[in-house]
């Protein structure tokens, strides 16, 4: 709804709010306020509920598990801000991992060279998605469902469904290593998030992504290279998925055909929890990764509690819905007429 407002004739006086609302209002002024508040809340409750939660070992486990989903989430959130979706990110990650395993084990290629080739492959897959979507004017959701089938099928063709074992130890520290107690994949995640967050906020391309997500027609009228930016964003998402895939291979020591199976829906939920609008133009990769942290914490505490495995997904799904509602409820609470 558009709201026609007048230029203030008197200096604006901030409305007096009761203390709790004032605190809430301050939190919500920051776009990340909602997700950070939810994060702190869930973290606090988890600390109280389980003595095993706030231990160095558990934190390390959580950070490492987060890294893979987090990398995919970064890519997906860029696409969502742009107003697109890629449902083939999981398959791209899996394909990159499998290809890495085959290059290293079956072709005997240098592990580092293999790693670079896998990243290139993932980037190329993402770019192919982008090219098909922009050139054939297809809806990204539909096209990437199809491409997920293509990439996922390629994994099965290559492996016949059998894991590739015997990945060289040269790269295993990428998946298993610790630097001052911090898992290497988590450091990779932070580095990627730093770069992407910087690009999104402080470079023209980042601003263009928000502009295109907000109004693609206006962006084209303004002379922005909409298609080129879309292709670049899909390529970035492909790169990040491939990175997650190859790190997973390094972590497991085997290239499993199932890598990436769970990387499709969780990152989208994480991005929404973190304030990224499914309609584009709003949110940030940092918020999306914080959303992934929330999902990771929920899954972790469920395991610590020893909740029956049959109930786990019911509980985690329910808490995800609660976390999404948190932001919208808080805003409604603040905007309620005084």
């Amino acid at each position: 709804m558009s709201l026609e407002t007048t230029f203030p004739t008197t200096p604006p006086t901030p409305p007096r709010l009761p203390p709790l609302r004032r605190l809430a209002a301050r939190c919500m002024r920051n776009p990340l306020g909602g997700v950070i508040a939810a994060l702190v809340l869930i973290f606090g409750v988890s600390c109280l509920l389980s003595p095993h939660f706030l231990t160095g070992f558990n934190m390390m486990i959580m950070a490492r598990a987060l890294a893979f989903i987090g990398l995919v989430t970064i890519g997906q959130s860029i696409l969502m801000i742009l107003g697109e979706l890629d449902l083939s990110v999981g398959a791209i990650g899996g394909l990159a991992g499998i290809t890495g395993g085959m290059l290293m084990v079956q072709a005997g290629l240098n592990p580092w060279l293999s790693l670079v080739l896998c990243l290139l492959l993932g980037t190329a897959c993402g770019m192919l998605n982008g090219v098909l979507i922009t050139q054939l004017r297809l809806h990204s959701l539909v096209l990437t469902i199809g491409m997920a089938g293509v990439y996922g099928g390629a994994i099965l063709v290559a492996t016949k469904g059998v894991a590739i074992t015997g990945v060289p130890v040269d790269i295993s520290f990428l998946g298993r290593g610790l630097v001052y107690g911090v898992p290497v994949p988590f450091i990779v995640l932070l580095a990627c998030l730093g770069v992407v967050a910087f690009v999104m906020v402080r470079t023209p391309v980042g601003r263009y992504v928000y502009a295109i997500g907000s109004n693609p027609d206006a962006a084209r009228m303004l002379g922005l290279r909409v298609d080129a930016i879309r292709i670049a964003a899909f390529a970035t998402a492909g790169f990040l998925s491939a990175l997650a895939g190859i790190l997973m291979v390094a972590r497991l020591g085997t290239a499993q055909p199932s890598i990436g199976d769970t990387w499709v829906l969780a990152p989208i939920a994480a991005a929404v929890i973190g304030g990224v609008a499914t309609t584009g133009g709003l949110g940030s990769p940092v918020g999306a990764v914080l959303g992934a942290v929330i999902i990771g914490m929920i899954e972790n505490i469920i395991v610590l509690f020893g909740i029956s495995p049959y109930w786990q997904s019911v509980v985690s799904g329910g808490i995800v819905v609660l976390a999404i509602s948190f932001d919208s409820l808080a805003r409604r609470y603040l905007h309620r007429e005084a």
Binding site: S2, F7, P8, A211, R220, G223
Partner: protein
């Protein structure tokens, strides 16, 4: 007889007083005009009258009963919003009677034939040409506009009809048709509230006028007591010179050709050839649908040309590449601001900064200090009224959105600037500000194209006027030496067309 009476209304939004001390009395069988510049509070007042917004203070009485206490009374107010809000993939009849349960067509299942028969009755009453079973996306814009009115009226027992700028996308004959329908409704005893920026419509239709300025009521007057100049003075608060002209000075006229369009064809127009000289304002006149916007958008590369070429400063703009056109210095300010102009979810700052990245970067990175300076500069220079540069642009009034977009375009220092209906839905004070900007730019040597459906606007600003009819250029006229009948003849496609310039 008083139908609706409001008194001492006050409504504030965080940081903004939208309405203060508003009194308004609507009489049966009268057309009441709401006049005021963009942001004067007209939309907020309408939202209060329709019950969409609850005022902070004041009374709203519907035929003597307190409507704020009994919300059901607002059902007697029918409201036609400014923006078309229809479901384009559904039929006319479905649009008319949604929600079905409320209109009596959906108790168990929806009966298509009964609904279409009932729709046909209303459509005949409102003079619509479409068929009830047609998809709304396929019917004409005036029919869509009439459908909105018919839909509002289908609620049955309405006593007040509010229309917010219903004519902004209608041609003059369509407007006349709409007016005759409104006059019929008025004579049947309906109280009509009409919002428009077009003076001729206000005076043609209005019985009473209430002028708003900065959220306050300046006064209510019988239409017969005011003339155009007086009304404009009340709205803007300062005197606007009605006979003021904005043609660039003779000194800036040159023979340098900036844009040369040769035999260009594309969607909606064929074989267009013309030139734009440095320092002139070249007007494009024509009816809605004559192909003017399509021609501009194709020159600019937004649509792909099927034949011909557009040369800017001796270099051809490649087909279908708006980014190249912008890089070469041609900018296009689209008619549909909301659809093609603004990034609604982004702040005013981001909306302006997005097109001047090269100016606000330091070492490949956006410098927030430089960004703030460039944005503050554009906001100040083009008088964009916003409480903060961080405000989302969708919350600004239409005129201020337009000024922000012009500020954004100007920050790029373009060589050629195409204004497509730049003052549609914009109040007269802001209108004249925009004319002054165009004039100043032309005198600085920028080539200006002005596409407008308002003949007065073209006569006020353009040095040369090109007319289009049904996708073809029908003439090119020197503004100073051409009378309006010749222009109108060329616009409606009269057979004998003289080429004067």
């Amino acid at each position: 007889m008083t139908v609706l009476h409001v008194s001492s209304l006050r409504k504030t939004y965080p940081g903004v007083v939208a309405l203060d001390h508003i009194d308004l009395t609507l009489e049966a069988g009268k057309v009441h005009i709401l006049a005021g510049e963009n942001g004067a509070g007209k939309s907020t007042l309408i939202k209060v009258l329709t019950g969409l917004v609850t005022p902070d203070a004041g009374r709203v009485d519907m035929e003597g009963h307190d409507a704020l206490a009994d919300h059901a009374l607002f059902a007697r107010v029918a409201y036609v919003p400014q923006e078309l809000s229809l479901f384009p993939t559904m039929t006319v009849a479905e649009n008319m009677f949604m929600p079905f349960a409320k209109s009596g067509f959906g108790r168990m299942t929806v009966s298509r034939t009964a609904m279409e028969a009932a729709a046909q009755k209303l459509m005949t009453r409102f003079g619509m040409h479409a068929r009830p079973g047609q998809k709304v996306g396929h019917i004409s814009v005036p029919d869509q506009q009439l459908l909105q009115i018919a839909r509002a009226a289908s609620a049955g027992d309405f006593r007040v009809l509010i229309l917010d700028e219903p004519t902004s996308s209608l041609t003059s004959s369509e407007t006349e048709h709409l007016f005759s329908i409104l006059r019929t409704l008025r004579d049947e005893g309906c109280a009509i509230v009409f919002v428009s920026h077009r003076m001729e419509e206000i005076f043609a239709l209005g019985d009473t006028v209430t002028v708003l300025r900065n959220g306050r009521s300046v006064g209510t007057y019988p239409m017969t007591e005011l003339d155009e100049g007086e009304l404009i003075r009340l709205m803007s608060g300062n005197s606007v010179q009605l006979d003021e002209r904005f043609q660039p000075g003779v000194a800036s006229a040159t023979q340098d050709i900036i844009v040369d369009v040769a035999h260009l064809s594309g969607p909606g127009f064929t074989d267009a050839s013309f030139t734009l000289r440095r320092g002139e304002i070249l007007g494009f006149a024509g009816l809605v649908g004559a192909g003017r916007s399509e021609l501009m958008q194709t020159m600019f590369g937004y649509h792909r040309a099927t034949a011909g070429r557009c040369v800017l400063d001796g270099r051809e703009i490649p087909r279908g590449r708006p980014d190249r056109a912008v890089a070469m210095g041609m900018l296009y300010l689209p008619e549909e601001r909301r659809h093609h102009g603004i990034f609604p979810l982004l702040s005013v700052r981001e909306n302006i900064a997005v097109s001047v990245m090269d100016q606000i970067m330091g070492g490949g990175v956006i410098s927030s200090g430089r960004e703030r300076r460039v944005v503050a500069d554009a906001i100040a220079r083009f008088d964009v009224r916003t409480s903060s540069a961080e405000k989302k642009i969708m919350y600004l009034s239409g005129g201020n959105q337009q000024k922000a977009i012009i500020g954004r375009a100007m920050a790029r220092r373009p060589r050629v600037l195409i204004f497509d209906e730049p003052t549609k839905g914009i109040d007269i004070g802001t209108k004249f500000q925009i004319y002054r900007i165009m004039q100043q730019l032309a005198e600085e040597g920028v080539g200006i194209i002005l596409v407008s459906s308002e003949m007065a606007e073209l006569q006020r600003c353009a040095t040369r006027i090109i007319t289009m009819h049904a996708g073809r250029i029908t003439g090119s006229f020197d503004q100073a030496t051409t009378d309006i009948n010749t222009l109108v003849g060329a616009i409606i496609g009269a057979p004998e067309v003289r080429h004067v310039a």
